[in-house]
Amino acid sequence: MPAIFRPSANLAAAVTLLALAGLGVGGVALWWLWPRTDYARHVRWPVGQPVPFSHEHHVAGLGLDCRFCHNSVEVSATAGLPPTTTCMTCHSQIWTNAAVLAPVRLSLASDTPIAWNRINDLPDYVYFNHGIHIAKGVGCASCHGEVDRMALTYKASSLTMQFCLDCHRDPGPRLRPKDQIFNTQWQRTADTASPAALMGEYHLRNGRRLTDCSICHR
């Protein structure tokens, strides 16, 4: 009886087995990695909004402070989005006929809030609080990036658990002086106070275990 397989089949079998194993490992890796990529997490994707609101025009152009609109950011867990009356503070007098602003005027006239679409959204099993970060010298830009350069707002950082922990392990180098917290263009320079000095200024104790699970998963 002649051999069914020629000698080269040995090679083919080995390659096939390797390929199958590779596919398996690769598949698992992809299944694990994919949700963690910036693409799947929608980092740097502008989100469609009812009004194409531009931080670039309002913050860099007009010099508005974040707190003019996000006025609860220093004292509460949520930064808050501006109510219609905040927009109308100015838009009752300027750009009153602009078509892009029709939803804002309609919102005031019909007494229904504008429903903005969420951009940064942590899973609900994570507890986050803005107030403590602002009080302890973490700037908006550390998590939200250069908001004043965004013509349409997008998510600037991945907001994975690793992202939070990278800072919680050693916040010092990422802290900034009190008057620069809302300045999204600020960079550490030679005459900025040292990380250790800033830690002291904000009364942050090194021993405090900011990486304990119960800090964020309450």
Binding site: D65, F68, P83, P113, P123
Partner: protein, 162 residues
Amino acid sequence: MKGALVPIAMLVCLTACDDMSNQAKQRHYAPAVGPAAVPSNTVEYLDRPSQAPPVTLELLERGQERFRIYCTPCHSELGDGHGMVVQRGFPPPPSYHTEHLRQAPVQHFYDVMTQGYGAMYPFADRVRPEDRWAIAAYIRALQRSQNATDGDISADRRGALE
């Protein structure tokens, strides 16, 4: 039979697996009533009538910070009414350094912030009462700074200016 117990137990465990990312809670930034209304029979948080606090350096510094956030876009850093938004076409507000506003009591500034004034919207929803007093005190200081007289300089510093 015994051998099947472990896989069955594992299957039962799987039924508890659920994505907890989105739980049943308020999903939208939707308040109970529309933006122009306050729910009936309620008082705004912290928004009870209050008295002007004594003027301290701390109060003025707080006032300066709040003034720069909420008022400079229109009234400008100097209070002369040529802020950035006015340069883009907003009707110019009066300068704080007019005789009328220099004579006005501090209470007037507080009331303007609480209730609005003409084309200016109220700021009661954004600026807390204590901060409104702080801003009012800061505007007083600003008015004084733009109309300073010799008498405002202490005797030991006067020499440095001459």
